[in-house]
């Protein structure tokens, strides 16, 4: 949570390991710009060359997951000349979103002199607007979740009726109150993020950063030299160029609409589309979702995809599958029609496209300094987040690896450690959990059934599909779906998926277990917390199906009927 993150941020400034002044000053003088030529560093772990500092550093508890690497003498020699050059900053970060702020703060805490530049604040991003905090805080996770909270009350009012609460009339929602309170919170958060940077001793420069050469950044005409440059400019919604696309809003705009949509078309089947469908549905808009595929949420577990679509439909969202948008037409009365390959749906007050996001790599000067990009415009980086130019690095959505805030944070920390703590660190992308804040929400960690089958062949699948205690009273058709995917050979839990109330909160703890490589027996040996939904994950006794490469997949389905209290 952002507020919590802020608190944690403040406290981590006082981390004991960062407060030895002698170490900090040592860092500043050290030639820290070593190229992480993968071939050299991965082949020979040569003895430490920065003896005094590295000894004191390595006396810390070793990290079990990251094999420690060492600077090579060659690396130092190569940069001997560069090290003597004076730079304005050890690190110049372009973009103060999740990844950029994290990397900057940690770098500063490790003793580096750091500057970060960011565009002026606006709730809607563009080539000239952004804001400290970035997508997550201003146009993503945070405002989205606030609107999810707001919209979820509609469902809670419905539920509460089943529990005896009575409303004289249907509760009405006032859009302006919500927007005002949401924006006040965003202003507060962007202020907190500025404080975090300030407290860490990071210089914040407002303006648009552009790379001039491998060690120089131009911010609105002013030049800054830096030993390292970090690109963390994130991504932005992408709207395909079809007739009428000028009438279309993206997720930035959808989070800050002047009025509530009466009837909205949402084009896209990804998590953003589903989250907004839930938000507007809860706030009593008439919601239509148009997806090109047969199913929503490509890449997720197939059963989860089916389940969430069904639950969303039951809550009143209309899903139009296998419909591709072709044009948006504005009628004389101002309403919008969406023309697809299957026909035209009329009468929308809003048409929103959630058709993907693109890295913000334009006009950054990347081509001129030779930073390589992928076909979709993402910056190519190695495992240490280094670009094709050794002094230029990139983290977060601009690299299009796993586009999640906590992943950008991880990449930012890893980079700061690599550059300024003599501890080359690769981000670890195994078992990264994630959530979709649809209604009901989804939480997942590890592999889907399809991925696990492909990778491991023989797997056991445990599922539970039940009506939660709350729904038995509310009378609503809400259900919960849970799934564990277990390697038949090793009994390791490979993946865990859930769709239903509280899924994101529930999955976090299990993510620790799965990351630690725990087995199904470990799950089974854990006592349940009764009565919760989560306890189902430790009481799945009988596999729903066993998938075997050879002999033919055993289709034996042995559904253990779930008694409410699991006795």
């Amino acid at each position: 949570m952002a507020a919590a993150a802020a608190a944690a941020a403040a406290s981590s400034l006082t981390t004991p390991k960062l407060t030895f002044p002698s170490l900090q000053s040592l860092y500043r003088k050290l030639p820290l710009s070593f190229p992480l030529s993968l071939s050299s560093s991965s082949s020979l772990p040569l003895p430490k060359t920065l003896t005094t500092t590295t000894t004191s550093l390595s006396s810390r508890r070793p990290l079990s997951h990251h094999r420690r690497r060492h600077l090579t003498t060659r690396a130092e020699a190569e940069n001997g000349a560069e090290a003597s050059r004076h730079y304005d900053f050890d690190l110049f970060t372009i973009g103060a979103g999740s990844g950029g702020v994290r990397a900057s703060r940690f770098a500063a805490n490790f003793g580096a002199s750091v500057a970060v530049c960011e565009l002026p604040f606006s709730t809607v991003s563009s080539e000239t607007t952004g804001g400290v905090g970035g997508t997550c805080v201003l146009r993503g996770c945070v405002p989205k979740k606030l609107l999810v909270y707001a919209s979820k009350y509609a469902h809670e009012f419905d539920e509460s009726r089943g529990f005896g609460w009575k409303y004289d009339s249907d509760p009405l929602h006032d859009w302006d109150t919500l927007m005002a309170n949401k924006n006040a919170e965003l202003q507060r958060l962007t202020g907190i993020y500025k404080n975090i940077l300030n407290n860490a001793g990071v210089t914040l420069i407002e303006g648009r950063g552009k790379i001039v050469d491998p060690h120089t950044v131009d911010v609105d005409g002013k030049l800054y030299s830096a030993r390292h440059i970090l690109i963390s400019v994130g991504g932005r919604p992408f709207i395909p160029d079809i007739p009428g696309s000028e009438y279309v809003i993206d997720s930035d705009a959808a989070l800050d609409l002047p009025s509530k949509p009466k009837k909205i078309a949402i084009v896209g089947g990804g998590y953003i589309a589903l989250e907004f469908a839930g938000i507007f549905n809860g706030l009593k808009s008439d919601v239509h979702v148009f997806i090109r595929q047969k199913k929503v949420l490509r890449g997720f577990d197939e059963e989860i995809r089916d389940f969430v679509a069904e639950q969303m439909s039951l809550r009143g969202i209309e899903l139009h599958t296998e419909e591709s948008p072709q044009a948006i037409i504005k009628s004389a009365d101002g309403s919008l029609s969406l023309k697809t390959n299957k026909g035209t749906v009329e009468g929308f007050s809003h048409v929103m496209f959630a058709t993907g996001r693109r890295p913000n790599t334009k006009n950054l000067g990347l081509e001129s300094v030779g930073v390589k990009m992928t076909n979709n415009g993402a910056i190519e980086v190695d495992e240490y987040s280094c670009t094709s130019v050794p002094s230029i690095w990139a983290v977060g959505d601009v690299t299009d690896r796993i586009n999640l805030t906590p992943v950008a944070l991880m990449e930012g920390v890893a980079l700061a450690k690599t550059l300024f703590q003599n501890e080359p660190t690769k981000p670890d992308y195994r078992a990264v959990p994630s959530a979709v804040f649809s209604q009901p929400p989804i939480g997942q960690v590890g592999l889907t059934e399809e991925q696990a089958t492909k990778e491991y062949g023989d797997i056991d699948v445990f599922t539970a599909n039940f009506r939660p205690l709350k729904a038995t009273l509310s009378g609503l058709p809400d259900r919960v779906f849970m799934k564990l995917i277990v390697c038949a050979k090793t009994n390791k839990v490979l993946g865990l998926n859930m769709c239903g109330e509280d899924s994101p909160e529930i999955v976090q703890g299990f993510a620790v277990a799965i990351k630690a490589g725990l087995t199904k027996e470990d799950f089974d040996s854990t006592v349940g917390i009764h009565p919760t939904a989560a306890e189902e994950f430790v009481t799945m006794r009988t596999p729903t199906r066993k998938i075997r490469e050879h002999p033919p997949a055993e289709g034996k389905t042995d559904h253990d009927v779930k008694a409410a209290a699991g006795v």
Partner: protein, 494 residues
């Protein structure tokens, strides 16, 4: 594997099997039903007896499903759900929802639906038993001999059965405090079935039942006064977290009266008058005694067969749940080990494995998570800071996070969520985790798996967070709050 239906697998014990049953279970609550079903699945011929159904228990009233389903976890959670909407309705306003100042509440409707639900569950449990091939008798069970039980049916007729093994799973019952006027008070049984929602409720007790009912009534709009003897409620839990719970209960509008005993209750025209040892007087519509539960061992005839009880009246058992009489066993609250449904289930499963699957199995009482469904709820797994200091060899690292949940940033609710990890400084193992805040019980289950398997702080830290969630705080606690030595004094406070 489950073996449903008729039981034809008892042949191997034929030579000695002149018993009517391989197993006769007295009490069809969580532990009894689990042990009966699993034993039957392992091939045993099983009978079980239970008192007739009613929401309020007595010496002669019970019901298949037991405390958990009829008078505990399930109805309690239903009322907590109902009460929780009270806070939600308040919170919704700043999110733009236009609601009346006071939203009405129909208690009778909830009560009826709650009763419908437990009747439904009672039926499910009966079906579970019959599907497993367990023979169910309605009536009061007594032990007549080491291999003999007697069931007194509703009409007074007595049935007598011999059994190779007898399992006592009769649970426990709420107790009243012996003070003048105690008959005016109710226990949790009645509290779950009150005809009318009290306007003024007094709760006496500091345990989880007391704080749960205080939260339920408060959430539904009653004035609630909670009296308890100690400085803080929830004795036995982490002290720092107890303080958090107390503050959150107060924040939700419950009046706390620590270090206070009730001394007398009298009936007046305006309600029940409560007297305390602090010379306070208070009027209430309902007075709940949540002052402990006692094992149901009185009418089982245990003395006659020589089954040993402890001072609290609980059946004494060994690590395999066996009493001092080799053919008589006991699981669940009647043994007063750890009185939780999932623990009774574990004990029941272990019993069945031990006795009927040839796999002697001891229940494992380490790292048992549990939850208090107060509003907001509280959940823990593993050791409290105090326990950790007692048990750890060296220093203990304490990580805490106290934050304003994102939802509150707009709702304006002044309530901090607090999380805590207690870590062994030497081994880096996470010894205990606790949380007070929304969704705590759901969040703690996965953490419990990690702790059960000896997860280290490093493994927590290496797990990526789910953003934005409350739970992600458990994997992002970077800075140690304090390091505590076994002597109990913080070494450094950063």
């Amino acid at each position: 594997m489950l073996i449903d239906g008729e039981v034809n697998h008892t042949n191997q014990v034929e030579e000695e099997a002149h018993f009517d049953f391989d197993l006769f279970v007295i009490g069809a609550g969580s532990g009894g039903v689990r042990a009966a079903r699993f034993s039957a699945n392992y091939g045993a011929k099983v009978g079980i007896c239970e008192l007739p159904f009613h929401p309020i228990s007595s010496e002669v009233i019970g019901g298949v499903g037991g405390t958990c389903v009829i008078r505990g976890c399930v109805p309690k959670k239903i009322l907590v759900y109902g009460a929780n909407f009270g806070g939600e309705i308040e919170d919704a306003k700043n999110y733009g929802w236009e609601l009346n100042e006071k939203v009405d509440y129909n208690w009778k409707k909830l009560l009826q639906k709650k009763t419908d639900e437990i009747i439904r569950l009672n039926g499910i449990y009966k079906r579970l038993l019959s599907n497993a091939g367990v023979k169910l008798y309605e009536g009061e069970g007594k032990i007549v001999g080491p291999n003999e039980v007697e069931v007194t049916q509703l009409d007074g007729t007595k049935l007598s059965y011999s059994a190779k093994h007898i399992l006592i799973a009769t649970g426990s019952r709420a107790q009243r405090l012996a003070i003048p006027g105690q008959e005016l008070a109710i226990t949790s049984d009645e509290a779950l079935s009150l005809e009318d929602l009290p306007k003024r409720a007094v709760v006496f007790g500091g345990g989880y039942i007391a704080v749960e009912f205080a939260s339920i009534w408060r959430g539904m709009g009653a004035t609630v006064d909670l009296f308890f003897r100690k400085e803080l409620p929830l004795r036995g839990f982490d002290d720092e977290m107890r303080d958090v719970v107390a503050r959150n209960l107060e924040g939700r509008g419950i009046n706390l009266h620590p270090r206070t005993n009730l001394t007398e209750l009298t009936k007046t025209e305006k309600g029940i008058k409560i007297y305390t040892d602090h010379k306070e007087e208070l009027l209430a519509d309902v007075v709940l005694f949540a002052t402990g539960r006692a094992p149901n061992t009185k009418r089982l005839n245990l003395e006659a067969v020589g089954v040993e009880l402890d001072n609290a009246g609980a059946v004494k058992v060994d690590e395999y749940s066996r009493t001092n009489i080799p053919t008589i066993w006991a699981v669940g609250d009647v043994t007063n080990r750890m009185n939780l449904t999932p623990v009774a289930l574990m004990e029941g499963t272990c019993f069945a494995k031990t006795v009927f699957a040839g796999q002697p199995t001891k229940p494992d009482y380490n790292h048992i998570p549990c939850a208090v469904f107060s509003i907001p709820p509280f959940s823990v797994v593993g050791l409290s800071e105090e326990q950790a200091l007692e048990q750890a060899n060296g220093d203990v690292l304490v990580f805490t996070s106290s934050f304003n949940p994102m939802k509150n940033t707009i709702s304006g609710r002044q309530e901090k969520t607090v999380m805590k990890l207690v870590v062994d400084a030497e081994t880096d193992k996470v010894l205990g985790a606790s949380m007070c805040g929304p969704d705590a019980p759901e969040i703690m289950q996965g953490i419990a798996v990690a702790l059960k398997c000896g997860a280290t702080k490093q493994q927590f830290d290496s797990t990526v967070g789910i953003h934005p969630s409350a739970a992600e705080e458990f994997v992002t606690m970077r800075s140690v709050t304090r390091r505590v030595t076994a002597s109990g004094k913080p070494k450094a406070n950063t």
